[in-house]
Symmetry: C2
Subunit: 308 residues, 2 copies
Protein backbone atom coordinates (compact mmCIF):
# COMPACT_ATOMS: atom_id res chain seq x y z
CA UNK A 1 0.00 0.00 0.00
CA UNK A 2 1.46 3.33 -1.05
CA UNK A 3 0.73 6.32 1.11
CA UNK A 4 1.17 10.05 0.56
CA UNK A 5 0.82 12.50 3.41
CA UNK A 6 0.33 16.27 3.43
CA UNK A 7 2.24 17.51 6.42
CA UNK A 8 2.93 20.58 8.51
CA UNK A 9 5.06 20.25 11.62
CA UNK A 10 4.59 18.53 14.95
CA UNK A 11 1.11 16.95 14.56
CA UNK A 12 2.07 15.54 11.19
CA UNK A 13 5.39 14.28 12.48
CA UNK A 14 3.67 12.40 15.30
CA UNK A 15 1.30 10.64 12.93
CA UNK A 16 4.10 9.85 10.48
CA UNK A 17 6.22 8.32 13.24
CA UNK A 18 3.30 5.92 13.77
CA UNK A 19 2.81 5.22 10.07
CA UNK A 20 6.46 4.30 9.44
CA UNK A 21 6.11 1.62 12.12
CA UNK A 22 3.33 -0.10 10.19
CA UNK A 23 3.99 0.49 6.51
CA UNK A 24 7.36 -0.06 4.85
CA UNK A 25 8.87 3.44 5.17
CA UNK A 26 9.89 3.48 1.51
CA UNK A 27 6.17 3.27 0.55
CA UNK A 28 5.50 6.61 2.24
CA UNK A 29 5.89 10.01 0.57
CA UNK A 30 5.52 13.09 2.74
CA UNK A 31 4.62 16.38 1.04
CA UNK A 32 5.68 19.11 3.40
CA UNK A 33 4.66 22.75 3.85
CA UNK A 34 7.43 25.21 2.99
CA UNK A 35 5.38 28.37 3.58
CA UNK A 36 7.08 28.83 6.96
CA UNK A 37 10.55 28.84 5.41
CA UNK A 38 12.61 31.92 6.01
CA UNK A 39 16.13 33.34 6.06
CA UNK A 40 17.82 33.93 9.38
CA UNK A 41 21.27 35.51 9.35
CA UNK A 42 21.63 34.35 5.77
CA UNK A 43 20.71 30.75 6.57
CA UNK A 44 17.75 29.05 4.93
CA UNK A 45 15.46 27.64 7.64
CA UNK A 46 12.68 25.19 6.75
CA UNK A 47 10.91 24.48 10.04
CA UNK A 48 8.38 21.89 8.86
CA UNK A 49 10.83 19.98 6.67
CA UNK A 50 13.17 19.80 9.65
CA UNK A 51 10.50 18.72 12.14
CA UNK A 52 9.47 15.88 9.81
CA UNK A 53 13.07 14.91 9.10
CA UNK A 54 14.18 14.99 12.72
CA UNK A 55 11.13 13.01 13.84
CA UNK A 56 11.58 10.31 11.22
CA UNK A 57 15.27 10.18 12.14
CA UNK A 58 14.43 9.79 15.82
CA UNK A 59 16.26 13.04 16.56
CA UNK A 60 13.22 15.13 17.44
CA UNK A 61 13.00 16.93 20.73
CA UNK A 62 9.76 15.84 22.41
CA UNK A 63 10.16 18.51 25.09
CA UNK A 64 10.01 21.44 22.65
CA UNK A 65 8.31 20.08 19.53
CA UNK A 66 11.01 21.73 17.40
CA UNK A 67 14.71 21.29 16.92
CA UNK A 68 16.92 18.39 17.81
CA UNK A 69 17.06 16.45 21.04
CA UNK A 70 20.07 16.71 23.33
CA UNK A 71 20.64 20.23 22.04
CA UNK A 72 22.91 23.07 23.11
CA UNK A 73 22.78 26.75 22.17
CA UNK A 74 26.39 27.85 22.36
CA UNK A 75 26.54 29.39 18.90
CA UNK A 76 23.27 31.24 19.55
CA UNK A 77 24.59 32.64 22.82
CA UNK A 78 27.53 34.17 21.00
CA UNK A 79 25.33 35.44 18.17
CA UNK A 80 23.28 37.13 20.84
CA UNK A 81 26.36 38.77 22.29
CA UNK A 82 27.26 39.93 18.75
CA UNK A 83 23.93 41.76 18.71
CA UNK A 84 22.10 39.40 16.33
CA UNK A 85 18.38 38.83 16.27
CA UNK A 86 18.06 35.58 18.20
CA UNK A 87 14.30 35.32 18.66
CA UNK A 88 14.43 32.17 16.54
CA UNK A 89 16.04 29.53 18.75
CA UNK A 90 18.57 27.61 16.68
CA UNK A 91 20.62 25.00 18.50
CA UNK A 92 24.14 23.91 17.65
CA UNK A 93 23.11 20.54 16.21
CA UNK A 94 20.11 21.99 14.36
CA UNK A 95 22.40 24.64 12.86
CA UNK A 96 24.24 22.00 10.84
CA UNK A 97 21.08 21.32 8.84
CA UNK A 98 20.65 25.00 7.99
CA UNK A 99 24.31 25.45 7.03
CA UNK A 100 24.24 22.32 4.89
CA UNK A 101 21.00 23.30 3.14
CA UNK A 102 21.98 26.92 2.58
CA UNK A 103 25.29 25.86 1.07
CA UNK A 104 23.56 23.27 -1.14
CA UNK A 105 21.04 25.86 -2.40
CA UNK A 106 23.83 28.39 -3.01
CA UNK A 107 25.70 25.71 -4.94
CA UNK A 108 22.71 25.28 -7.25
CA UNK A 109 20.84 22.36 -5.68
CA UNK A 110 17.06 22.48 -5.50
CA UNK A 111 15.33 22.40 -2.13
CA UNK A 112 14.08 18.91 -3.08
CA UNK A 113 17.59 17.68 -3.69
CA UNK A 114 18.92 19.21 -0.48
CA UNK A 115 15.99 17.79 1.52
CA UNK A 116 16.52 14.37 0.02
CA UNK A 117 20.25 14.42 0.78
CA UNK A 118 19.58 15.40 4.40
CA UNK A 119 16.95 12.66 4.77
CA UNK A 120 19.25 10.03 3.29
CA UNK A 121 22.13 11.10 5.53
CA UNK A 122 19.78 10.43 8.46
CA UNK A 123 18.91 6.97 7.14
CA UNK A 124 15.32 7.94 6.38
CA UNK A 125 13.75 5.65 3.80
CA UNK A 126 10.49 7.54 3.29
CA UNK A 127 10.52 10.31 0.70
CA UNK A 128 10.36 13.79 2.17
CA UNK A 129 9.21 16.22 -0.51
CA UNK A 130 8.94 19.98 -0.14
CA UNK A 131 5.60 21.07 -1.61
CA UNK A 132 7.54 23.20 -4.12
CA UNK A 133 11.13 24.16 -4.87
CA UNK A 134 10.04 27.78 -5.36
CA UNK A 135 9.98 30.07 -2.33
CA UNK A 136 6.35 30.97 -1.56
CA UNK A 137 6.42 32.47 1.93
CA UNK A 138 3.24 32.62 3.96
CA UNK A 139 2.08 36.13 4.78
CA UNK A 140 -0.31 36.54 7.70
CA UNK A 141 -2.63 39.50 7.18
CA UNK A 142 -3.56 40.92 10.56
CA UNK A 143 -5.22 43.96 12.04
CA UNK A 144 -1.68 45.13 12.73
CA UNK A 145 -0.58 44.74 9.13
CA UNK A 146 0.78 41.96 6.97
CA UNK A 147 3.47 39.92 8.69
CA UNK A 148 5.95 37.35 7.49
CA UNK A 149 5.00 34.05 9.03
CA UNK A 150 7.84 33.67 11.55
CA UNK A 151 7.40 37.29 12.53
CA UNK A 152 3.76 36.56 13.36
CA UNK A 153 4.39 33.14 14.85
CA UNK A 154 7.60 33.43 16.84
CA UNK A 155 8.33 37.08 17.42
CA UNK A 156 4.73 38.24 17.89
CA UNK A 157 3.67 34.94 19.49
CA UNK A 158 0.49 34.86 17.31
CA UNK A 159 -0.92 37.87 19.14
CA UNK A 160 -2.09 40.07 16.21
CA UNK A 161 -5.65 39.29 15.08
CA UNK A 162 -5.71 37.40 11.79
CA UNK A 163 -7.70 38.58 8.76
CA UNK A 164 -6.37 36.21 6.13
CA UNK A 165 -3.35 34.57 4.53
CA UNK A 166 -1.47 34.71 1.28
CA UNK A 167 1.43 32.74 -0.11
CA UNK A 168 3.78 35.09 -1.88
CA UNK A 169 4.65 33.91 -5.39
CA UNK A 170 2.65 30.69 -5.09
CA UNK A 171 0.99 31.37 -8.47
CA UNK A 172 4.35 30.74 -10.12
CA UNK A 173 5.34 27.81 -7.92
CA UNK A 174 5.27 24.33 -9.43
CA UNK A 175 4.85 21.26 -7.28
CA UNK A 176 8.31 19.87 -6.47
CA UNK A 177 9.42 16.82 -8.48
CA UNK A 178 7.59 13.74 -7.22
CA UNK A 179 4.75 15.59 -5.50
CA UNK A 180 2.03 15.07 -8.14
CA UNK A 181 3.29 11.55 -8.81
CA UNK A 182 3.08 10.69 -5.10
CA UNK A 183 -0.55 11.79 -5.02
CA UNK A 184 -1.37 10.08 -8.32
CA UNK A 185 0.23 6.79 -7.35
CA UNK A 186 -0.96 6.62 -3.74
CA UNK A 187 -3.55 4.19 -2.44
CA UNK A 188 -4.15 6.46 0.53
CA UNK A 189 -3.53 10.17 0.98
CA UNK A 190 -3.48 11.34 4.58
CA UNK A 191 -4.00 15.00 5.36
CA UNK A 192 -2.20 15.16 8.70
CA UNK A 193 -3.63 16.92 11.77
CA UNK A 194 -1.86 20.18 10.97
CA UNK A 195 -3.14 23.75 10.88
CA UNK A 196 -5.48 23.93 7.85
CA UNK A 197 -4.62 27.59 7.12
CA UNK A 198 -0.87 27.81 7.51
CA UNK A 199 0.36 24.22 7.26
CA UNK A 200 -1.98 22.41 4.87
CA UNK A 201 -3.25 25.64 3.24
CA UNK A 202 0.05 26.50 1.53
CA UNK A 203 0.37 22.94 0.17
CA UNK A 204 -3.15 23.08 -1.27
CA UNK A 205 -2.36 26.47 -2.83
CA UNK A 206 0.45 25.07 -4.99
CA UNK A 207 -0.95 25.18 -8.54
CA UNK A 208 -2.19 21.77 -9.63
CA UNK A 209 -2.05 20.18 -6.21
CA UNK A 210 -5.67 20.53 -5.16
CA UNK A 211 -6.81 19.28 -8.55
CA UNK A 212 -4.46 16.29 -8.28
CA UNK A 213 -6.08 15.37 -4.96
CA UNK A 214 -9.55 15.71 -6.43
CA UNK A 215 -8.83 13.35 -9.33
CA UNK A 216 -6.60 10.91 -7.46
CA UNK A 217 -8.05 7.40 -7.16
CA UNK A 218 -6.57 7.29 -3.64
CA UNK A 219 -8.72 7.35 -0.55
CA UNK A 220 -8.12 10.81 0.91
CA UNK A 221 -8.37 10.88 4.70
CA UNK A 222 -7.98 13.94 6.92
CA UNK A 223 -7.33 13.72 10.64
CA UNK A 224 -8.81 16.58 12.65
CA UNK A 225 -6.41 19.10 14.16
CA UNK A 226 -9.30 20.46 16.27
CA UNK A 227 -10.46 18.47 19.29
CA UNK A 228 -13.06 19.52 21.85
CA UNK A 229 -13.28 23.06 20.52
CA UNK A 230 -9.58 23.83 20.44
CA UNK A 231 -6.46 23.13 18.41
CA UNK A 232 -4.30 20.36 19.83
CA UNK A 233 -1.37 22.72 19.40
CA UNK A 234 -0.78 26.12 17.87
CA UNK A 235 -2.98 28.97 16.67
CA UNK A 236 -5.54 27.13 14.47
CA UNK A 237 -8.37 27.65 16.96
CA UNK A 238 -7.66 31.33 17.46
CA UNK A 239 -7.38 31.81 13.70
CA UNK A 240 -10.79 30.21 13.10
CA UNK A 241 -12.37 32.46 15.69
CA UNK A 242 -10.66 35.58 14.31
CA UNK A 243 -11.82 34.67 10.80
CA UNK A 244 -15.40 34.36 12.06
CA UNK A 245 -15.59 30.58 11.82
CA UNK A 246 -16.62 28.03 14.43
CA UNK A 247 -13.63 26.46 16.18
CA UNK A 248 -14.78 23.06 15.03
CA UNK A 249 -13.65 20.09 13.00
CA UNK A 250 -16.53 21.02 10.70
CA UNK A 251 -14.62 24.16 9.69
CA UNK A 252 -11.60 22.02 8.78
CA UNK A 253 -13.71 19.52 6.85
CA UNK A 254 -15.24 22.42 4.92
CA UNK A 255 -11.80 23.54 3.76
CA UNK A 256 -11.03 20.07 2.35
CA UNK A 257 -14.52 19.14 1.11
CA UNK A 258 -13.68 19.10 -2.63
CA UNK A 259 -11.16 16.28 -2.38
CA UNK A 260 -11.85 14.50 0.92
CA UNK A 261 -13.22 10.95 1.24
CA UNK A 262 -12.98 10.37 4.99
CA UNK A 263 -12.73 12.77 7.91
CA UNK A 264 -11.41 11.38 11.18
CA UNK A 265 -12.96 13.06 14.21
CA UNK A 266 -11.71 12.66 17.72
CA UNK A 267 -13.78 10.48 20.04
CA UNK A 268 -14.45 13.57 22.15
CA UNK A 269 -16.34 15.20 19.26
CA UNK A 270 -18.94 12.58 18.45
CA UNK A 271 -21.62 15.25 18.41
CA UNK A 272 -19.99 17.03 15.48
CA UNK A 273 -20.19 13.99 13.25
CA UNK A 274 -23.58 14.79 11.71
CA UNK A 275 -22.42 18.31 10.80
CA UNK A 276 -19.67 16.87 8.64
CA UNK A 277 -20.84 13.59 7.14
CA UNK A 278 -22.49 13.76 3.75
CA UNK A 279 -23.12 11.66 0.64
CA UNK A 280 -19.48 12.03 -0.48
CA UNK A 281 -17.80 12.30 2.93
CA UNK A 282 -17.59 9.58 5.49
CA UNK A 283 -16.77 10.39 9.12
CA UNK A 284 -14.87 8.01 11.40
CA UNK A 285 -14.10 8.42 15.09
CA UNK A 286 -10.73 7.70 16.69
CA UNK A 287 -8.50 8.72 19.52
CA UNK A 288 -6.47 11.38 17.69
CA UNK A 289 -4.39 12.58 20.65
CA UNK A 290 -0.95 11.14 20.00
CA UNK A 291 0.96 11.62 23.21
CA UNK A 292 2.58 8.20 23.15
CA UNK A 293 4.14 6.13 20.40
CA UNK A 294 1.51 3.48 21.10
CA UNK A 295 -1.29 5.95 20.38
CA UNK A 296 0.46 7.12 17.19
CA UNK A 297 0.74 3.57 15.93
CA UNK A 298 -2.91 2.90 16.87
CA UNK A 299 -4.13 5.92 14.94
CA UNK A 300 -1.93 5.02 11.97
CA UNK A 301 -3.33 1.49 11.95
CA UNK A 302 -6.85 2.86 12.20
CA UNK A 303 -6.30 5.04 9.12
CA UNK A 304 -5.04 2.09 7.10
CA UNK A 305 -7.98 -0.04 8.27
CA UNK A 306 -10.66 2.48 7.30
CA UNK A 307 -9.03 3.19 3.94
CA UNK A 308 -9.20 -0.47 2.92
CA UNK B 1 52.48 56.87 21.56
CA UNK B 2 50.54 55.50 18.61
CA UNK B 3 51.38 52.03 17.39
CA UNK B 4 50.48 50.14 14.25
CA UNK B 5 51.14 46.42 13.93
CA UNK B 6 51.28 44.14 10.91
CA UNK B 7 49.85 40.85 12.07
CA UNK B 8 49.31 37.28 11.05
CA UNK B 9 47.84 34.84 13.54
CA UNK B 10 49.12 33.32 16.76
CA UNK B 11 52.58 34.93 17.10
CA UNK B 12 51.14 38.35 16.39
CA UNK B 13 48.26 37.80 18.79
CA UNK B 14 50.67 36.91 21.60
CA UNK B 15 52.69 40.07 21.12
CA UNK B 16 49.56 42.21 20.83
CA UNK B 17 48.16 40.78 24.05
CA UNK B 18 51.33 42.12 25.69
CA UNK B 19 51.17 45.50 23.95
CA UNK B 20 47.57 46.21 25.02
CA UNK B 21 48.68 45.77 28.63
CA UNK B 22 51.19 48.61 28.30
CA UNK B 23 49.79 51.07 25.78
CA UNK B 24 46.22 52.40 25.88
CA UNK B 25 44.48 49.84 23.62
CA UNK B 26 42.79 52.60 21.63
CA UNK B 27 46.23 53.82 20.49
CA UNK B 28 46.91 50.50 18.76
CA UNK B 29 45.86 49.69 15.18
CA UNK B 30 46.36 46.14 13.98
CA UNK B 31 46.61 45.54 10.23
CA UNK B 32 45.77 41.90 9.69
CA UNK B 33 46.51 39.42 6.92
CA UNK B 34 43.40 38.31 5.02
CA UNK B 35 45.21 36.12 2.49
CA UNK B 36 44.16 33.02 4.45
CA UNK B 37 40.47 33.90 4.22
CA UNK B 38 38.27 31.33 2.55
CA UNK B 39 34.73 30.07 2.18
CA UNK B 40 33.67 26.95 4.00
CA UNK B 41 30.15 25.67 3.42
CA UNK B 42 29.18 29.16 2.29
CA UNK B 43 30.60 30.83 5.39
CA UNK B 44 33.34 33.44 5.17
CA UNK B 45 36.23 32.40 7.42
CA UNK B 46 39.01 34.88 8.28
CA UNK B 47 41.46 32.91 10.43
CA UNK B 48 43.93 35.67 11.28
CA UNK B 49 41.29 38.33 11.97
CA UNK B 50 39.61 35.87 14.30
CA UNK B 51 42.80 34.85 16.11
CA UNK B 52 43.62 38.51 16.74
CA UNK B 53 40.06 39.32 17.79
CA UNK B 54 39.66 36.32 20.08
CA UNK B 55 43.05 36.96 21.69
CA UNK B 56 42.39 40.64 22.37
CA UNK B 57 38.96 39.62 23.71
CA UNK B 58 40.54 37.07 26.04
CA UNK B 59 38.57 34.33 24.28
CA UNK B 60 41.51 32.64 22.60
CA UNK B 61 42.20 28.98 23.08
CA UNK B 62 45.79 28.63 24.29
CA UNK B 63 45.66 24.86 23.87
CA UNK B 64 45.06 24.98 20.11
CA UNK B 65 46.24 28.42 19.00
CA UNK B 66 43.05 28.82 16.96
CA UNK B 67 39.38 29.12 17.74
CA UNK B 68 37.66 30.00 20.97
CA UNK B 69 38.36 28.63 24.43
CA UNK B 70 35.81 26.41 26.17
CA UNK B 71 34.69 25.21 22.75
CA UNK B 72 32.40 22.39 21.61
CA UNK B 73 32.00 20.87 18.14
CA UNK B 74 28.39 19.69 18.10
CA UNK B 75 27.45 21.44 14.89
CA UNK B 76 30.59 20.13 13.18
CA UNK B 77 29.80 16.57 14.29
CA UNK B 78 26.42 16.76 12.58
CA UNK B 79 27.90 18.42 9.47
CA UNK B 80 30.27 15.48 9.35
CA UNK B 81 27.37 13.04 9.51
CA UNK B 82 25.70 15.02 6.70
CA UNK B 83 28.77 14.25 4.60
CA UNK B 84 30.32 17.73 4.68
CA UNK B 85 33.98 18.48 4.36
CA UNK B 86 35.00 19.02 7.98
CA UNK B 87 38.78 19.19 7.72
CA UNK B 88 38.54 22.76 8.95
CA UNK B 89 37.66 22.49 12.64
CA UNK B 90 34.96 25.05 13.41
CA UNK B 91 33.55 25.02 16.93
CA UNK B 92 30.05 26.03 17.97
CA UNK B 93 31.11 29.32 19.54
CA UNK B 94 33.53 30.17 16.73
CA UNK B 95 30.75 29.50 14.22
CA UNK B 96 28.83 32.53 15.45
CA UNK B 97 31.59 34.81 14.18
CA UNK B 98 31.48 33.25 10.71
CA UNK B 99 27.68 33.37 10.50
CA UNK B 100 27.64 36.98 11.67
CA UNK B 101 30.37 38.07 9.25
CA UNK B 102 28.95 36.18 6.27
CA UNK B 103 25.53 37.70 6.85
CA UNK B 104 27.03 41.18 7.23
CA UNK B 105 28.99 40.82 3.98
CA UNK B 106 25.91 39.48 2.17
CA UNK B 107 23.97 42.45 3.50
CA UNK B 108 26.48 44.81 1.87
CA UNK B 109 28.88 45.55 4.74
CA UNK B 110 32.60 45.70 4.01
CA UNK B 111 34.96 43.29 5.73
CA UNK B 112 36.33 46.30 7.65
CA UNK B 113 32.89 47.20 8.96
CA UNK B 114 32.07 43.62 9.91
CA UNK B 115 35.45 43.20 11.62
CA UNK B 116 34.99 46.44 13.53
CA UNK B 117 31.49 45.45 14.66
CA UNK B 118 32.75 42.07 15.89
CA UNK B 119 35.64 43.71 17.74
CA UNK B 120 33.37 46.29 19.39
CA UNK B 121 30.89 43.59 20.43
CA UNK B 122 33.81 41.94 22.22
CA UNK B 123 34.73 45.17 23.99
CA UNK B 124 38.01 45.52 22.07
CA UNK B 125 39.25 49.09 22.04
CA UNK B 126 42.15 48.63 19.62
CA UNK B 127 41.37 48.97 15.93
CA UNK B 128 41.47 45.69 14.04
CA UNK B 129 41.84 46.40 10.33
CA UNK B 130 41.82 43.82 7.56
CA UNK B 131 44.69 44.63 5.19
CA UNK B 132 42.11 45.11 2.41
CA UNK B 133 38.36 44.76 1.91
CA UNK B 134 38.99 43.01 -1.41
CA UNK B 135 39.42 39.24 -1.43
CA UNK B 136 43.01 38.43 -2.39
CA UNK B 137 43.49 34.78 -1.49
CA UNK B 138 46.98 33.41 -1.04
CA UNK B 139 47.94 30.72 -3.52
CA UNK B 140 50.79 28.41 -2.59
CA UNK B 141 52.69 27.22 -5.66
CA UNK B 142 54.12 23.79 -4.95
CA UNK B 143 55.75 20.92 -6.76
CA UNK B 144 52.30 19.31 -6.59
CA UNK B 145 50.56 22.27 -8.20
CA UNK B 146 49.07 25.55 -7.05
CA UNK B 147 46.97 25.18 -3.91
CA UNK B 148 44.55 27.47 -2.12
CA UNK B 149 46.10 28.38 1.19
CA UNK B 150 43.85 26.37 3.53
CA UNK B 151 44.13 23.42 1.18
CA UNK B 152 47.92 23.57 1.54
CA UNK B 153 47.92 24.45 5.23
CA UNK B 154 45.14 22.42 6.79
CA UNK B 155 44.19 19.65 4.40
CA UNK B 156 47.68 18.92 3.10
CA UNK B 157 49.37 19.79 6.41
CA UNK B 158 52.02 21.84 4.55
CA UNK B 159 53.48 18.69 3.03
CA UNK B 160 53.85 19.76 -0.65
CA UNK B 161 57.17 21.45 -1.41
CA UNK B 162 56.79 25.19 -1.88
CA UNK B 163 58.03 27.02 -4.97
CA UNK B 164 56.43 30.42 -4.41
CA UNK B 165 53.35 32.40 -3.50
CA UNK B 166 50.85 34.67 -5.17
CA UNK B 167 47.94 36.68 -3.88
CA UNK B 168 45.08 36.41 -6.32
CA UNK B 169 43.66 39.80 -7.29
CA UNK B 170 46.00 41.73 -4.99
CA UNK B 171 46.88 44.12 -7.83
CA UNK B 172 43.33 45.47 -7.65
CA UNK B 173 43.06 45.47 -3.85
CA UNK B 174 43.19 48.79 -2.05
CA UNK B 175 44.31 49.04 1.56
CA UNK B 176 41.22 48.92 3.79
CA UNK B 177 40.04 52.26 5.20
CA UNK B 178 42.35 53.33 8.00
CA UNK B 179 45.30 51.15 7.02
CA UNK B 180 47.48 53.77 5.33
CA UNK B 181 46.44 56.34 7.95
CA UNK B 182 47.46 53.99 10.77
CA UNK B 183 50.92 53.61 9.24
CA UNK B 184 51.24 57.32 8.48
CA UNK B 185 50.17 58.42 11.96
CA UNK B 186 52.06 55.80 13.97
CA UNK B 187 55.06 56.54 16.13
CA UNK B 188 56.00 52.87 15.99
CA UNK B 189 55.13 50.18 13.48
CA UNK B 190 55.67 46.64 14.71
CA UNK B 191 55.99 43.82 12.20
CA UNK B 192 54.87 40.94 14.39
CA UNK B 193 56.69 37.60 14.55
CA UNK B 194 54.51 36.03 11.87
CA UNK B 195 55.38 34.04 8.76
CA UNK B 196 57.07 36.51 6.39
CA UNK B 197 55.75 34.77 3.26
CA UNK B 198 52.14 33.96 4.03
CA UNK B 199 51.22 36.26 6.94
CA UNK B 200 53.22 39.47 6.48
CA UNK B 201 53.85 38.88 2.75
CA UNK B 202 50.20 39.37 1.71
CA UNK B 203 49.97 42.60 3.75
CA UNK B 204 53.11 43.98 2.12
CA UNK B 205 51.70 43.04 -1.30
CA UNK B 206 48.68 45.32 -0.94
CA UNK B 207 49.35 48.17 -3.40
CA UNK B 208 50.69 51.23 -1.60
CA UNK B 209 51.36 49.52 1.69
CA UNK B 210 55.06 48.84 1.34
CA UNK B 211 55.63 52.38 0.09
CA UNK B 212 53.69 53.77 3.04
CA UNK B 213 55.99 51.89 5.41
CA UNK B 214 59.08 53.17 3.60
CA UNK B 215 58.02 56.82 3.88
CA UNK B 216 56.43 56.63 7.33
CA UNK B 217 58.24 58.69 9.98
CA UNK B 218 57.47 55.87 12.44
CA UNK B 219 60.18 53.61 13.79
CA UNK B 220 59.55 50.29 12.06
CA UNK B 221 60.51 47.30 14.18
CA UNK B 222 60.26 43.64 13.17
CA UNK B 223 60.37 40.80 15.67
CA UNK B 224 61.93 37.62 14.33
CA UNK B 225 59.65 34.64 13.72
CA UNK B 226 62.76 32.43 13.34
CA UNK B 227 64.66 31.40 16.45
CA UNK B 228 67.59 29.01 16.64
CA UNK B 229 67.22 27.89 13.05
CA UNK B 230 63.51 27.14 13.11
CA UNK B 231 60.14 28.85 13.05
CA UNK B 232 58.57 29.22 16.49
CA UNK B 233 55.40 27.84 14.94
CA UNK B 234 54.20 26.90 11.47
CA UNK B 235 55.86 26.31 8.13
CA UNK B 236 58.10 29.40 7.79
CA UNK B 237 61.29 27.39 8.31
CA UNK B 238 60.35 24.68 5.85
CA UNK B 239 59.30 27.30 3.29
CA UNK B 240 62.66 29.08 3.54
CA UNK B 241 64.49 25.82 3.01
CA UNK B 242 62.29 24.81 0.08
CA UNK B 243 62.81 28.24 -1.50
CA UNK B 244 66.58 27.79 -1.22
CA UNK B 245 67.08 30.32 1.57
CA UNK B 246 68.82 29.93 4.92
CA UNK B 247 66.41 29.23 7.76
CA UNK B 248 67.61 32.34 9.51
CA UNK B 249 66.40 35.66 10.88
CA UNK B 250 68.67 37.15 8.21
CA UNK B 251 66.32 35.84 5.54
CA UNK B 252 63.41 37.57 7.25
CA UNK B 253 65.33 40.81 7.65
CA UNK B 254 66.17 40.70 3.96
CA UNK B 255 62.49 40.57 3.06
CA UNK B 256 61.80 43.74 5.07
CA UNK B 257 65.02 45.62 4.41
CA UNK B 258 63.52 48.50 2.40
CA UNK B 259 61.37 49.78 5.26
CA UNK B 260 62.83 48.36 8.46
CA UNK B 261 64.58 50.44 11.16
CA UNK B 262 65.12 47.82 13.87
CA UNK B 263 65.21 44.04 13.76
CA UNK B 264 64.68 42.20 17.04
CA UNK B 265 66.63 38.95 17.21
CA UNK B 266 66.10 36.32 19.85
CA UNK B 267 68.79 36.03 22.53
CA UNK B 268 69.56 32.55 21.22
CA UNK B 269 70.71 33.99 17.87
CA UNK B 270 73.34 36.48 18.93
CA UNK B 271 75.71 35.14 16.31
CA UNK B 272 73.36 36.19 13.50
CA UNK B 273 73.41 39.84 14.52
CA UNK B 274 76.35 40.84 12.35
CA UNK B 275 74.70 39.27 9.27
CA UNK B 276 71.73 41.59 9.66
CA UNK B 277 72.91 44.90 11.12
CA UNK B 278 73.83 47.62 8.66
CA UNK B 279 74.04 51.38 8.35
CA UNK B 280 70.24 51.69 8.09
CA UNK B 281 69.25 48.72 10.21
CA UNK B 282 69.79 48.34 13.91
CA UNK B 283 69.62 44.94 15.57
CA UNK B 284 68.42 44.43 19.15
CA UNK B 285 68.34 41.23 21.15
CA UNK B 286 65.45 40.10 23.31
CA UNK B 287 63.72 37.03 24.62
CA UNK B 288 61.13 36.64 21.84
CA UNK B 289 59.56 33.38 23.05
CA UNK B 290 56.21 34.47 24.49
CA UNK B 291 54.93 31.44 26.35
CA UNK B 292 53.66 33.45 29.32
CA UNK B 293 51.79 36.71 29.61
CA UNK B 294 54.74 38.05 31.59
CA UNK B 295 57.10 37.37 28.69
CA UNK B 296 54.65 38.97 26.23
CA UNK B 297 54.49 42.13 28.32
CA UNK B 298 58.29 42.15 28.68
CA UNK B 299 58.82 41.91 24.94
CA UNK B 300 56.18 44.59 24.33
CA UNK B 301 57.88 46.90 26.81
CA UNK B 302 61.23 46.19 25.20
CA UNK B 303 59.89 47.21 21.78
CA UNK B 304 58.57 50.48 23.16
CA UNK B 305 61.85 51.16 24.94
CA UNK B 306 64.05 50.62 21.87
CA UNK B 307 61.73 52.67 19.66
CA UNK B 308 62.05 55.73 21.91
Amino acid sequence: MRLAALAGGVGAAKLLSGLVRILPPEDISVIVNTGDDFRWLGLQICPDLDTITYTLAGLDNPATGWGVRDETFRCLERLDSLGCDTWFQVGDRDLATHIYRTHALQSGATLSAATDAIARAHGIQSRILPMTDTPAPTIVHTTEGSLAFQDYFVRRQCSPEVRGFSFQGIENAAPAPGVLEAIRDADVVVVCPSNPYISIGPILAVPGLRAALAVSPATVIAVTPIVAGAAIKGPAGAMMRQLGCAVSPATVAGLYRDFLDIFVLDLQDEGVSTQIAGPALRVCMADTIMNTMESRVSLAQFLLDISA
